[in-house]
């Protein structure tokens, strides 16, 4: 049982984390190559608070607020740059985060933080909490997507200049996307830290940022269900791939490439075209 619980917890955290990036990159079209920094900010903020004696739930809230605030600051800076420049700037933010954490003794430096206290929840209860939070993030995503905000996001993703011409305050909406997305990443970070009970600077580097971006793109950028499924699958793939041992990462990389090459719309795209072709076949009978 414990193994399945571990896998499901990992999945829940990944789904939450991927959905948080989907808000920024999927809905609002702002590519981020440094999203793991916010996972890290949440993880460190919560770990330090529970180590200082704060209750777990308070620590999660703190992680969320702290990551969101830093997210707004980074968002403000990112307003100046667009598209590929933004991608590289956010990548820089990721490297800066790791670089700074490494040198702070208060954050454990290279040794990281270990002995993160228990949450007071049993492992199954922690798993349930994680899955509930992931479900809330999914519901929130769907709500935002359908609301006015979601339409503006889509508009900005499509063509930011037109939105500006229409008199829409694009920068504020982009900031909102950053704030919500990074705050959710902070929550994911708090769960991550209290699941693994050990965090170090290397856990939140470029590779992690790339991994979460691949979850979003493989799921089908902007699709809540697609991203959630992709995050669930990709997060446990390495564990399942233990069987193929030495070829694990080769297959992982190869799958990413083939997926983009032959199904650039991701899982959501595959699903949509499957539905379409079925409709076509069912419609064929009726004139």
């Amino acid at each position: 049982m414990g193994y399945e619980i571990t896998l499901l917890t990992t999945m829940g955290i990944s789904i939450l984390f991927a959905l948080s990036l989907n808000l920024i990159t999927g809905f609002c079209g702002q590519i981020s190559l440094g999203h793991a920094a916010f996972l890290g900010i949440g993880a460190y903020a919560s770990a330090l608070s529970t180590k200082a004696g704060a209750p777990f739930f308070l620590a999660v809230l703190f992680a969320m607020a702290f990551a969101g605030i830093i997210g707004v600051v980074v968002g403000l800076a990112s307003l100046r740059v667009r598209a590929d420049f933004l991608a590289i700037t956010t990548m820089g933010v990721g490297f800066l985060f790791v670089g700074i954490v490494r040198q702070q003794d208060a954050l454990g430096g290279e040794l990281g933080i270990s002995g993160i206290p228990d949450t007071g929840l049993s492992r199954p209860a922690f798993m349930v909490l994680t899955l509930i939070l992931a479900a809330i993030a999914a519901a929130l995503s769907i709500y935002i997507k359908r609301a006015w905000m979601g339409r503006v996001f889509a508009g900005i993703a499509e063509d930011e200049d037109t939105m500006r011409v229409l008199g829409i305050d694009a920068p504020s909406y982009k900031l909102a996307a950053f704030a919500i997305g990074t705050a959710l990443a902070g929550v994911a970070g708090a769960l991550y830290a209290h699941h693994l009970k050990f965090i170090g600077p290397e856990s939140f580097g470029f590779v992690e940022s790339i991994t979460v971006l691949s979850m979003v793109v493989v799921g089908g950028i902007g699709s809540v269900a697609g991203v959630a499924i992709a995050a669930a699958l990709l997060s446990v793939l390495p564990a399942w791939f233990q069987i193929i041992g030495d070829y694990k990462l080769l297959v992982y990389g190869g799958l990413l490439f083939l997926m983009m090459r032959f199904a650039p719309g991701g899982l959501a795209g595959i699903f949509a075209s499957a539905m379409q072709s079925r409709n076509r076949t069912t419609n064929r009978g009726k004139p």
Binding site: T6, T10, G200, P238, A239, G245, D246
Partner: protein, 388 residues
């Protein structure tokens, strides 16, 4: 309410014990499994390959000698990529699905640290081969480590500087837990020996270009250089220090301890000191037989990682032989009570389950590691104990 909870916990404990009694003899029928987490892919794959070779050799030798009561022992191998996130599901799986009675870490500190608390919670002994993070053994009484901790090795480095009669030192530190621990130990002991630390430079694990550091060290003009790293960083580092015209001796640590280091640094590796746990010129039977057997089995030169992983697995097997295959508390106590002749010296664990042993100083001579001296100072090299 609290009383009820307590009673429930007692009942659960009794029930578990009962299950243990029932399943105990049954599981003894099947093969005894030793779990092994190791970075086979990712940034640490080179060391992972060596570690796996060492572990496999220990298993093969044990099985050739009749295994455990006539039955072969099985090594259950999981790749953890050297990162905490991958190690957690891997070791959870080996504990729950494979039912390993003892775990061995052939991996780096990040993944070992994360795995440690899982083994501790499951009350399964976990023997760490070469990860040096100080908090691994602090995870609990089921943790063991067969290698000297970073701080201890750092102190040995400072003593070597003093023994060589040098005073002015420049430290080059690799930015990870290994380098940080070494530097901390070195600086602590440097005060004791009255050494002058002129400067300290840091570099990252992916760095291979050390030109700027070499230029600055040349200007510092130290008596000796204490540089931490792994063979793949140390090879280029040593070679670039020498080609900048620096002639001061260089001290490395067990991360250098691979023939690959000599291959990469080439002529520049001559005369480099390495503080490590494997003595190539040892007279000890355990070391000699390991050196020849490893060469025979893998057709490659043994290194520190292989020797430590071999030792960690061998210690686990030795413990299992004492308990007749039983795990849990019995195995923990059996391992804790062992005195074991290993390729990396005579081992016995203190109350924190750390080992106290001499540090071997090797020097590169004619493209091979040779014995230079042995640092034997039980006070200076004392590992931390429980009380600390």
């Amino acid at each position: 309410m609290i009383g009820w909870k307590k009673t429930a916990r007692h009942c659960a404990a009794v029930a578990l014990a009962a299950v243990g009694l029932v399943t105990g003899p049954v599981s003894a029928q099947t093969q005894t499994k030793i779990g092994f987490n190791v970075p086979l892919t990712g940034f640490a794959a080179a060391d992972g390959a060596s570690a796996l070779n060492g572990a496999k050799l220990a298993i093969a030798q044990a099985n050739a000698n009749g295994g455990l009561g006539g039955k072969p022992i099985e090594l259950v191998v999981y790749d953890d990529q050297g990162i905490a996130k991958e190690a957690v599901p891997a070791v959870t799986k080996m504990i729950e699905k494979d039912g390993v009675v003892v775990g061995v870490s052939g991996s780096y500190s990040g993944s070992t640290r994360a795995a440690a608390s899982i083994f501790q919670t499951a009350k399964i002994p976990y023997v760490t081969a070469y990860a040096i993070h100080p908090e691994i053994t602090l995870a609990g009484d089921f943790m063991f480590r067969v290698s000297a901790m970073g701080e201890v090795q750092g102190r040995a480095g400072a003593k070597l500087v003093n023994d060589l009669g040098k005073k002015k030192v420049v430290i080059v530190t690799i930015k990870n837990d290994f380098g940080q621990a070494l530097a901390a130990g070195f600086k602590e002991a440097a005060v004791k020996f009255g050494l002058t630390i002129q400067n300290e430079y840091e570099y990252g694990l992916p760095d291979r270009q050390f030109g700027p550091i070499a230029s600055k060290i040349k200007a510092d003009n130290p008596d000796i250089i204490y540089a931490s790293g792994y063979f793949y960083t140390a090879g280029p580092l040593v070679s670039q220090l020498r080609s900048a015209g620096i002639t001061a001796p260089i001290i490395g640590q067990e991360g250098y301890d691979s023939d690959k280091f000599i291959e990469i640094a080439g002529a520049a590796s001559e005369g480099v000191y390495v503080t490590t746990s494997l003595d190539r010129d040892s007279d000890a039977a355990a070391t000699k037989s390991f050196l020849t057997e490893y060469k025979k089995a893998t057709n490659a030169g043994p290194d520190m990682v292989a020797a430590s992983s071999y030792t960690a697995v061998a210690v686990a097997i030795e413990g299992l032989k004492k308990t007749g295959g039983k795990g849990g508390d019995a195995l923990r106590d059996a391992i804790a009570g062992l005195t074991y002749d290993s390729p990396i010296g005579k081992l016995s664990f203190n109350d924190l389950h750390e080992v106290a042993k001499d540090v071997q100083v090797q020097i590169v001579k004619d493209k091979a590691f040779r014995r230079h001296s042995v640092i034997s100072d039980p006070v200076l090299l004392a590992p931390p104990t429980k009380k600390k």
